[in-house]
Amino acid sequence: MTDYEHYEAVVVGCGPGGATAAKTLAEQGVETLVLERGTDAGAKNVSGGLLYGEQSAPYTFDDVFPGVRAEATERPVDDHYIHNIAGDTVKTFDLGKLHHHDTEWCDSVLRRTMDSWVAERVHEATRETGGGVLTDVHVNGLLREGGQIVGVTSEELDPIRADVIVAADGVNSELARDAGLMDWEEPEEWFQGVKAVVEMHPETINERFGLEEDEGDAHLFSGDLFDGVRGGGFLYTNESSLSIGTVFHLDSIADSGAEPHELLDSLLTHPLLEQWFDGEYHEREYSAKLVPDSKKVAHPSPHRGRLLLVGDAAGQMQAQGPVIKGMNHAVTAGGLAAEAIMEAKARGNPRSAGDLYEQKLYDEGVMAKLRPRRYRATHALSESDLVTGVGSRLLDSPVGTAGLKLFGGLLERAYNSPYLLGMIPDTRLTYVDVPTRIGEVLGTRVVDESEIDPPELDDRIGDLTYDVDDPHIELLDDSFEASGTAVTACPVSASGFGGGCYREETVTTNGTEEKKVSLDTQPCVECGTCAVVADTKWEHPGGGKGVEFEDG
């Protein structure tokens, strides 16, 4: 046996899932090593982000990290609205009931600030056990012996053995893929999130949103402003900035050929937002990342041998209608994984940790939230073309219009029902047609005109910080058929734009012209999109290399 280092537990990734698992393990004296690829925990992470502390959850972030809300989150968010948009008419529904359902607290967060604060606490706790947090380490695979998973490998360190490995390495988890537990094949299983952090003075925020100090707002946007692409927009107030972004079904982005940065601009320049911008716009950061859709990918049995997957790595990201909940579930899963590991250890059978973890995910109701039975039962019918077609004709008909007028109040209640949202179908009807008709029929016209001019893609890339390394993505098939979708779907590429990652090229060979795709990973924001929509060999960059987000 090679003389590799050994730890009782190795946790890969120091986002909410990994941090919770590691801190919980360390508090029980388990020797825990955390490996994080960012140069700082949070330097790679992007979320909207509203962090929920759910009443029903066995773990909340402030239980695990006392003081996190006071020290490292942005603003407590109490009010939540959804704006149904048709052109410049808007009908706003209050989502307060949904927001407060099962909610102990909810804070807006910026990931660099929060994750790095948390990582310090994790380091203190794990150091006591002989482990600790190491940044700048990119774990690139599982160490196996005799076909069994026994540890992890990385570029920066010699292989490390562990009794148990917690893969909390987020969406595009290389460990989950290596273990054969997740693949990156189907665009239907993912959302793509794109976000801008916009600078705004705290007092200006308070004034324009009608808030007191230490109060925050959440706004969601849906309707016809996104060219029919299925998804929507969000705006959350931070301490001294706004997080504004879009989340779309990746298959819809891919099929429509829409440019993600332009969809974001459609939101930013909608006249509704002018009441908050008042002609001023200073973008601090542009970022993007894939988001798993738990309804489709939450792994029913997220473990193999000594490996346990938590959070996005296991697809545990819940889209509760328009509300996105990933961080809270990663926290819960991290806590449950740690519990399972300790119980298995106490029973003298560390190998049983995976089964125990799975059991806990079901017993604590986590799986029921992630993969609602209602969705499974109804989606085959509700997502069928027939139902969608009939629904959309009905909406346009005088009967549908009259119905909307009559039942406007009822609709607002429907939007606030976690039960109904659990079975909301993934169709254009629900994401685009219904909100648009609501906006049209019930909405009022916005009087403002947008006066802002968001930065060009070139400038957005130019403003990011990169530590460029060797290319981390390899294009396996450069034909347009195989990989052309990435030219538009990549959030830092665009057709006709030469400064991004993916470019369309026309190559003439022996007189015949062929459309090809070329790739330059330098401006990559590591969102993961092209791992799914193009034919690539996809890895994250080496430890500490690649893009570094300041806000996230």
């Binding site: 280092e5 090593l33 490996l35 150091r127 600790g132 190491l134 360190l157 490390i160």
Partner: protein, 293 residues
């Protein structure tokens, strides 16, 4: 294991820090003094040794009292367990020979003789590259210190504590394209090359490195230069003033010639590269220099 790193203060030559007068002479008073950058690399090597095999890292310099800040900088930016300054008027204006003499005597002051002495490659101001090897030569002639092999241009280092050996990769003649691996017994003298890269391939090393860095930063911040830096003058070292400082320096600087600057304006003839006859005239013009004159 006791490691001692030698260092010196140099003018901060970085853009925006360094100040020259109208004649191009360095204005020392206006230019801050910093730790010689190559010495930080040597200190990194000492820290790597501590991380991997444990022990104590001392940082030593010879110079004016102001060099206390240099030592503090080394502790803050890299690491040191303790700081030593050899300093008094008699030591002033020393050349590399007198410096080596003084430092080797300082090295003999420790209760625990250094197993490894580290020096950086060249100082940013003197550029001689002599002090390290000369110090080792002075160690050889010092009865209180054990003779030791010197390995220069070191780019990586491994210590085998049990065998009491050190294995180093070094650039032959300082050439990056030729690397040899050498092994020597401890105690030894190491001169690091600017290409030296500390390597921590075990998680436990990186964790220990992180602990040590944090600890050193905290100690450097709280440092009281009067209390926490050991200062030895020539009497402490029992050195004859005639053999140190200016009096002990055989080197005589006859004069300093500034590097001539290019003229502000030059005559230029514009050539159209697509015009063959014009290009031909360029070749004619250059042909005269083709012999290397």
């Amino acid at each position: 294991m006791h490691m001692v790193t030698l260092t010196k203060g140099v003018p901060d030559f970085r853009e925006g820090k360094v100040s020259f007068d109208e004649e191009g002479h360095l204005e020392r008073g206006k230019t801050p003094t910093v730790m010689n950058p190559n010495d930080k690399i040597a200190l990194q090597a000492a820290l790597q040794a501590k991380v991997r095999v444990g022990g104590r890292v001392s940082l030593m310099s010879m110079g004016p009292p102001g060099y206390k800040e240099v030592l503090q900088e080394g502790m803050e930016d890299v690491y040191a367990d303790d700081l030593y300054l050899l300093s008094d008027r008699e030591m002033g204006a020393a050349d590399t020979w007198a410096t080596a003499m003084t430092i080797s005597t300082g090295l003999a002051m420790f209760d625990e003789e250094p197993d490894l002495i580290f020096a950086g490659f060249k100082t940013a101001d003197g550029e001689t590259g002599h002090t390290g090897p000369q110090t080792n030569w002075c160690i050889d002639i010092n009865d209180e210190l054990t003779d030791r092999p010197i390995i220069t241009h070191v780019i990586s280092l491994d210590i085998d504590e049990e065998e009491r050996t050190v294995r180093a990769k070094r650039l032959v003649e300082g050439d990056i394209s030729e690397i040899e691996t050498v092994e020597a017994d401890l105690p030894a003298f190491i001169v690091t090359d600017p290409e030296f890269e500390p390597s921590y391939r075990r998680a436990e090393y990186r964790l220990r490195y992180k602990d040590l860095r944090e600890d050193a930063e905290e100690r450097a911040e709280a440092l009281d230069p009067e209390e926490d830096i050991t200062v030895w003058d020539h009497e402490d070292l029992n050195l004859d003033p005639d053999f140190i400082g200016l009096d002990g320096s055989p080197t005589i600087v006859a004069g300093v010639d500034p590097i001539p600057k290019g003229p502000d304006e030059r005559e230029a003839t514009m050539i159209d590269p697509s015009d063959d006859s014009e290009m031909d005239s360029v070749f004619q013009e250059l042909a005269a220099y083709a012999g290397g004159d």
